[in-house]
Symmetry: C2
Subunit: 210 residues, 2 copies
């Protein structure tokens, strides 16, 4: 079924889908360090030239893969903001946690950020990969940001709240724990985080005098 790649020819969507599927499988098996582009070409049954013309390095290919995985996380708007945020962030946290363990020995003590950190570094290393990653997050985050905008409009958020700052507090906490402190990001933590972000940490006028 493989067609030899030719310059100027429209890219085959089927080939892209096959490449991303095989890249995903290989990443889960091997992890970032031992992930080899040539092996993806063999397993997806495409010419190496097809693969490299589409994604010039493994960093480019793996970022495309992350984009695909992220696009599969739904953002529901049930009208219960606290619930919707908890569900969405738990899905993000679960995906991040799964990705950080990819291709490595599954030991309980292991707190490494794994592939997630390698992708962050890849985005910092190649300007074009960085642009792709930043555009990917801008596009993806538009969904939860719209959820927050609607919540503010119906009065479920304080009028002056910035959706962007609010989302930074939530997603930022998860990435900070994953990438920097190595603290767990399970469902219990997400519950507590969402509750505290919405409630605020400052003393209320009522409690201030106590």
């Amino acid at each position: 079924m493989t067609t030899p790649a030719r310059r100027g020819r429209p890219r085959s969507e089927n080939a892209d889908v096959r490449i991303l599927e095989e890249a995903h499988a290989l990443l889960v098996e091997r992890g970032y360090d031992r992930f080899a582009m040539d092996e993806v070409a063999v397993r997806a049954a495409v010419a190496k030239s097809t693969l490299y013309r589409r994604w010039p390095t493994k960093d480019h290919l793996l970022v495309a893969l992350v984009a695909k995985i992220q696009d599969e996380v739904p953002v529901a708007d049930t009208g219960d903001l606290r619930h919707d945020l908890s569900v969405y962030l738990t899905a993000i946290a679960t995906g991040l946690d799964r990705m950080r363990r990819v291709g490595r020995d599954q030991t309980e003590q292991d707190r490494s950020a794994g592939v997630v950190a390698e992708l962050v570094a890849a985005a910092a290393r190649h300007p074009d990969v960085g642009d792709v990653v930043r555009n990917l997050f801008a596009r993806r985050n538009a969904l939860p940001l719209a959820l927050l905008d609607r919540a503010r409009e119906r009065g479920a958020l304080a009028p002056g709240t910035s959706s962007e700052v609010l989302f930074d507090q939530l997603a930022g906490a998860l990435y900070y724990r994953l990438l920097v402190t190595g603290a767990p990001i399970g469902a219990d933590y997400v519950e507590e985080l969402v509750g505290q972000v919405l409630a605020g940490s400052g003393a209320t006028p009522h409690s201030e005098g106590i």
Copy 2:
């Protein structure tokens, strides 16, 4: 002034200080990719064996360097929590922003996380570097966490507030913007972030009925 390194001999603190100073200067000149351990040994006038016994890879050395830089950021407690948090986080953001630009062309459009991302990846790659980084942050973050604990005790934070979750919201937002979305982390942003974290984003009982 160099003394040949010998096995079992106590490490020279002076050599460590010289190595870290030269490593810092070289990192600023070259950036992460073109940072070479051997050049640090030459510039610090220490035997290569001394350098490599103390820090086996450039990842190890650069993490030690970041630890030193971080230890220079003060945490003041003036009794005005909002002010103290803004000052501390602005210092952190400024340090992160300076580090991300290290060794690279200074263009305004450049949003790469640079060396910060490389260090996050180094921590994920080497289990021992990861342990050093996590211990470094645990030790450092104990200072702002104690600041938050004292604020809660004197009634400047809501009684049920978790200092750790609160700090995740603040530091996390900065790292998330730096490492993932590439959004700026200037003093204006820090002000807005601290204000919103303390005030909370949820509708207050008063505004809920509107």
